[in-house]
């Protein structure tokens, strides 16, 4: 048993080496298929990142009527924090708001001058609320409109931007879904092409397979080396696709970062290196071996 296994592996390796051009061609096709899968990882990372960045930018601000006592506002704040969906609630008092406003427009003498003219602070106190999930903003807005908080509220920013925010989330959701679907279709096509390459390679060997049968070789003894060969092709292609991915990441990481701020491609690949490598190598070896196994079936009937 052991001697057979070692002979099968050795023979598979020899075939792989001696038909180096055929192996190279098959590796190239497998490489493309696996690279599509690797690109999927990166794509899903990028879309998740973009969606998250967009979601992060969304918040709702609730402005309180001019004469609302501060303890009322703080009371609303603490009650909002009781929601487990709420990530943070930032209180901005009227004085703070004015400070920020002045600071932001300090280069604009006209605004500075008109502020001087006013006796009273024209700005309202507000709470800036961030939620973990965009979908919960609706619930939070409804809570704020209801009594007892409702009577104090002057306006809620969310109501004004509602449509824009919702459209944004439909778009990011669609991007994620489309990415997954396109990815699955692409990988499927790539795998079909890879499988067909293996079929052609084995078709090429059909005479040899018949000869092996005629001199009394059992099916596993014939199949084995082809399976080993397929696994070697898959392994080589996986390693190659990892190398190319790493090279591309090194070359373009900075540019990607400039294009989509905060998208750290290299960092992502580094932290997920083991996972991606495992998936690539596993997929390559499994698919290579399986392709050979399936493709050889028709030729073992002699």
């Amino acid at each position: 048993m052991f001697i057979n296994l070692s002979r099968i592996i050795k023979s598979g390796w020899l075939n792989f080496r001696r038909n180096i051009w055929l192996s190279t061609a098959t590796i190239s096709v497998f490489f493309l298929a696996l690279f599509v899968v690797a690109a999927l990882f990166v794509l899903s990372f990028a879309t998740t990142h973009i969606a998250r960045t967009l979601e992060d930018k969304v918040d709702i601000s609730v402005y309180f009527a001019e004469d609302t006592p501060e303890y009322n506002i703080l009371d609303v704040q603490s009650r909002l924090l009781d929601f487990k969906e709420v990530k943070s609630v930032e209180y901005v008092s009227r004085v703070d708001a004015l400070e920020t406003f002045k600071e932001r427009h300090r280069d604009n003498p006209l605004i500075q001058a008109s502020l001087e003219e006013l006796d009273e602070n024209p700005l309202l106190a507000s709470l800036n609320i961030k939620a973990y999930e965009a979908s919960t903003y609706e619930v939070i807005a409804q809570f704020l409109e209801r009594a007892p908080a409702g009577s104090l509220v002057e306006k809620i920013d969310y109501r004004e931007n509602k449509e824009l925010i919702e459209r944004l989330f439909t778009i990011t959701g669609n991007i994620k879904r489309a990415g997954v679907i396109v990815g699955i279709i692409l990988s499927f096509i790539a795998m079909l092409v890879a499988f067909n390459t293996v079929r052609l390679a084995i078709y090429n060997e059909r005479d040899s397979i018949a000869i092996m049968r005629l001199v009394g070789a059992g099916n596993w003894f014939i199949r084995g080396p082809f399976v080993v060969q397929g696994m070697l092709v898959g392994f080589a292609a996986a390693v190659l696709s990892m190398l190319v991915l790493a090279a591309l990441a090194f070359a373009f990481s900075e540019r990607v970062d400039a294009f989509i701020p905060g998208l750290n491609l290299l960092g992502y690949l580094k932290t997920n290196a083991l996972l991606i490598m495992g998936v690539e190598v596993g997929l390559g070896v499994l698919f290579g071996g399986l392709s050979s196994l399936v493709a050889i079936r028709n030729y073992l009937k002699v």
Binding site: I3, E205, S208, R213, V215, G216, G218, F221, V302
Partner: protein, 226 residues
């Protein structure tokens, strides 16, 4: 040792390859199967290695009915028979040594035994200097000698040769025939299918003559009839 009892082989569209053929081969015999092409010689050999199944009748190899072997038993049968084909059927991606060693590997022989036996049998057929050449680098005669070495290396009980000299010139033909005689003298059954009149007449061994799928003569020290 080998028994054909009323064996018929009919291919689709009523193409009759063999019709009611019966004969028996004793141990150590050297039997020539002769006849024109299409007479049924190759069919008999294909039935013998279970490459084809008979339409009717039975074929026994010792006490095993080989007409109806299960798929996995076929390889076991073939390991007891050495086969030489007209078109050599060497594995193109293996060198001479590996082609011969393959048969022993298939049988699960020890590596040590393979290292001893393969060079020995290649020396017997005069290919000791071509061990590491690939089939594409050999002449026709060398290819057939390599194939013969492969058919012999596992010491089969029967050696089957289907027109082994069909693609060879005069000198190489006699190389092969002399090797077959030598192998037979060492105790192996030889079944030789040929349409070479000269070989058959010089051998002066048993001759089975076929015509259009029927056995028309079977003589102990036969001559080429047709």
């Amino acid at each position: 040792m080998i028994y054909f009892k009323k064996v018929s082989k009919i291919y689709p569209h009523d193409s009759v390859a063999l019709k009611d053929v019966s004969f028996e081969i004793e141990p150590h015999e050297f039997v020539s199967l002769v006849g024109r092409s299409g007479a049924g010689k190759s069919t008999i050999l294909k039935l013998l290695i279970a490459e084809e199944r008979p339409t009717s009748g039975s074929i026994f190899f010792e006490n095993q009915d080989i007409g109806f072997l299960a798929f996995h038993q076929i390889s076991k049968l073939r390991r007891r028979i050495g086969v030489v084909f007209q078109d050599f059927k060497l594995l193109p991606s293996k060198n001479v040594y590996e082609n011969v060693a393959f048969v022993l590997e298939v049988m699960g022989a020890e590596s040590k035994q393979i290292k001893e036996d393969v060079p020995q049998v290649l020396k017997l057929v005069g290919l000791e200097k071509k061990l590491y050449n690939f089939p594409s680098e050999l002449s026709g005669g060398e290819k057939q000698r390599a194939a013969l070495a492969r058919a012999l290396v596992h010491r089969p009980e029967v050696l089957v040769a289907d027109e082994p000299t069909g693609n060879l010139d005069y000198v190489h033909t006699w190389d092969i025939v002399n090797l077959l005689i030598k192998i037979n003298s060492l105790g192996t059954n030889v079944v030789l299918a040929t349409h070479d009149k000269e070989i058959v007449n010089k051998l002066k061994r048993r001759v089975i003559t076929l015509e259009e799928g029927r056995l028309i003569s079977d003589e102990k020290k036969g001559k080429y009839l047709i």
